[in-house]
């Protein structure tokens, strides 16, 4: 059970948490210093220069350019330090390591649906191994949600119509809060869950416990069921471009532009095929808007990704 009582500071349970907290304490220190300075000055001045007689006339002081420059430039320099420190963390935390465990998240009013690439599904719970980076690719079926794990200091909006990602590496075995942090309607405050950080062996055991098929094989089945396979032949002889080895590489478009074949691009190509036409191919693909669910889209993407691996293996 959750430790009862009256915590004043959140647990640190990810590799990110320590860095965020150190910066937070620096900010507390600066903010505390200036707050104290102002409060003490107010108090001291108010006492020391209190009106002692009704006809007092203090000497007017017009101002001082030296002081004005000092109290503009010094705070400015301090804020630059804050900015630089924060920016470094933000940039570092926005880049997931390549070897991360991949989990896919679909938010909907008012639940979290998750699927691990090995196929294991869960609802309002996330099981992850300790000591390994985990990357979440997230989208929403309806309104904007937000995936927030306070103990890991990670948070990101989960936006319909696009993929957002976060990553973390848990450092402590245990159970941690998962909150939806973006207001999403009636049961917003019930859209919560738990993150379970497990020993890697326990995680492997848990992963294999479901008996379901991997996202990649679900995606392969969908690839046939939706008829994708009829045009996207592996050898490039079909009416559509071959998808082997496409993922993660730039794609030449009819418009002359190039686009990186990432999750967002594959998703868009399924739902709005005419938005970006691959160079040399006719714009004949129908939309699958309304036919493929968010989960199925993620499975299809997992399959297209796996075709990259297939290519590597043949080499």
């Amino acid at each position: 059970m959750e430790p009862a009582g009256f915590p004043l500071f959140p647990e640190q349970a990810s590799t990110i948490a320590g860095g965020v907290d150190r910066l937070f304490f620096f900010l507390v220190l600066v903010a505390g210093f200036f707050s104290l300075l102002i409060f003490v000055l107010i108090f001291v001045f108010a006492v020391k220069y209190r009106r002692r007689s009704e006809d007092e006339k203090p000497k007017p002081i017009a101002g001082s350019h030296t002081l004005e420059i000092a109290w503009s430039v010094i705070p400015l320099l301090i804020t630059f330090v804050m900015f630089g420190w924060g920016a470094t963390l933000y940039v570092r935390n926005s880049r997931p390591p390549v070897n991360a465990v991949e989990v896919f998240v679909v938010g909907k009013q008012w639940m979290w649906k998750l699927q691990h690439s090995e196929g294991q599904r869960e609802i309002d719970e996330l099981h992850v191994p300790v000591g390994r980076p985990v990357k979440l690719t997230m989208t929403s079926e309806d309104v904007i949600h937000d995936f927030f794990i306070p103990a890991f200091r990670v948070k990101k909006d989960v936006v319909p119509g696009r993929y957002t990602t976060i990553w973390f590496q848990a450092t402590k075995i245990g159970r941690y809060h998962l909150f939806c942090a973006q207001y999403c309607g009636a049961q917003h405050s019930a859209m919560t869950g738990w993150v379970y950080v497990m020993k890697p062996v326990d995680y492997e055991k848990w992963l294999s416990g479901g008996g379901g098929e991997s996202m990649e094989s679900s995606g392969e089945k969908l690839f046939s069921r939706f008829g994708c396979v009829n045009c996207h032949h592996a050898d490039g002889s079909g009416r559509g471009p071959s998808l082997v080895g496409v993922f993660g590489k730039p794609v030449q478009l009819e418009s002359g532009e190039t686009v990186m074949a990432d999750e967002a691009y594959i998703r868009e190509s399924i739902l709005a095929p005419n938005a970006k036409i691959v160079k040399g191919y006719p714009a004949i693909m129908p939309t699958f808007q309304g036919q493929a669910s968010e989960e199925q889209l993620l499975q299809l993407i997992a399959y297209v990704k796996s075709l990259r691996m297939a290519e590597r293996m043949t080499k």
Partner: protein, 537 residues
Amino acid sequence: MATLAAEPPRVESRVNYLNASYGVKSWLLTTDHKRIALLYLISITFFFLIGGMAATVIRLHLISPTGALVEPQTYNKLFSVHGVIMIFFFLIPSIPAVLGNFLVPLMIGARDLAFPRINLLSWYIYVVGGLFTLYAILAGGVDTGWTFYTPYSSTYSNTHVIATALGVFISGFSSILTGLNFIVTIHKMRAPGLTWFRLPLFIWAHYATAVIQVLGTPVVAITIVLIALERLLHVGIFDPKLGGDPLLFQHLFWFYSHPAVYIMVLPSMGVVSELITCFSRKRIFGYEFVAFSSVAIAVLGFLVWAHHMFVAGISTYAGLVFSILSYLVAIPSAIKVFNWMATIYKGSISYDAPMLYALGFIGLFTMGGLTGLFLANLGVDVHIHDTYFVVAHFHYIMVGGALMGYLGGLHFWWPKISGRLYPDKWARFAALVIFLGFNLTFFPQFILGYLGMPRRYAVYPPEFQVLNVMSSAGASVLAVGYAIPLIYLIWSMRYGPVAGPNPWKAKGLEWNTPSPPPTDNFEETPVVTEEAYAYGE
């Protein structure tokens, strides 16, 4: 200052703006800026009470982790109503429409605003907007929060989004017209000798505010129209299912709503400059710096909106740009605070109630501003965004800052507005109660936020209960603090001792005319021969 026990109220025989004419019609059709200010005072107090009632239920509800009072959906409607009413119908009009309306002409030696009838029109527009919003509340409420995020507001919510948004849309025109009126008045109607650098800083602050009102408000109006188009006609603008982009809404919304924070707090800063100088009997330290920092805030305030979106899915580079710009806007606020401190240094400081509010403002605004540095920080904002840390931060700015300034200003100019004095001891007591109650309410929320409690939660994990109970206890103290001035100010209108033209021995043209002022403000147009705050003369 004169004490309550001084003299029994005398019957005013002199003709002033209050007794110049009688009857409902003489008020509802008035074009006197002072009477319109009172119409606003009554209306915004009414809306403050509604917003305050919602806040009361919210804080009572949160005493228990499972929610003590209402269903989650009712809770959602309560915080939505609280936000919409307090921001659009109390804080935004508060100082400009009440004190600004009353004082801008008086301070610059004019007989009225440039467009007196447009001034009355803007009050009517405000009332119509307010009625739409009241209708929405009575008809079942709205549950989108004051931020109306899409696609929730445009597609998914089945509450009265349109009526509420229409109320906000309409009241926006009131704000635009007031701003326009101030800009023209300040440019064209200053008394002879009243150059820009002799203007009271209250006027500079209102000028900067008016610019934001005129430039920013149309954007939120357009955004509301776009929501209505999507909601009613299913034109795809924000909902991805219709081909729209939900983040576009956030960009448009915050392009107005971040500067709107400065609409709320800049006028308060103007008030504080007046109070600080009067009650330490010193001219302001660094006049030009305080004046131009208002302008700098108004300009920079338009360039920081996406710091509300660091975790919304904007690009990393956008995050970097908006973070550094947000840090820049902190500097002019810091300049103001330091100049105020230098002003009271070696002053002759009295502890009248308005001064207590002004000093309270400086302390609380400093804390609000400094915690803003946490939220502008890309590294830390990821964790505290959308938590109670944000709630605490903006209440320090809007309540600790804007509202304290409003109350300080109201207490300072009340003798001018009503011609009467209020009981000084009660006023000082109330200021203290409000300061303590405020901190007890909102300081625990900083801790809650860093612990990770998300905002807008009707129920919450039990380990957050102690801090929530502290916050609710503080809110009850705060409520008492607000009730006291409401009682003694109304009491003073009838029973308060007569104030005389200048009870504080303050500088400024508004104190050179009787209290309450005559309808035409001045017997003859004043000529200004000295700087503002010439307390040393």
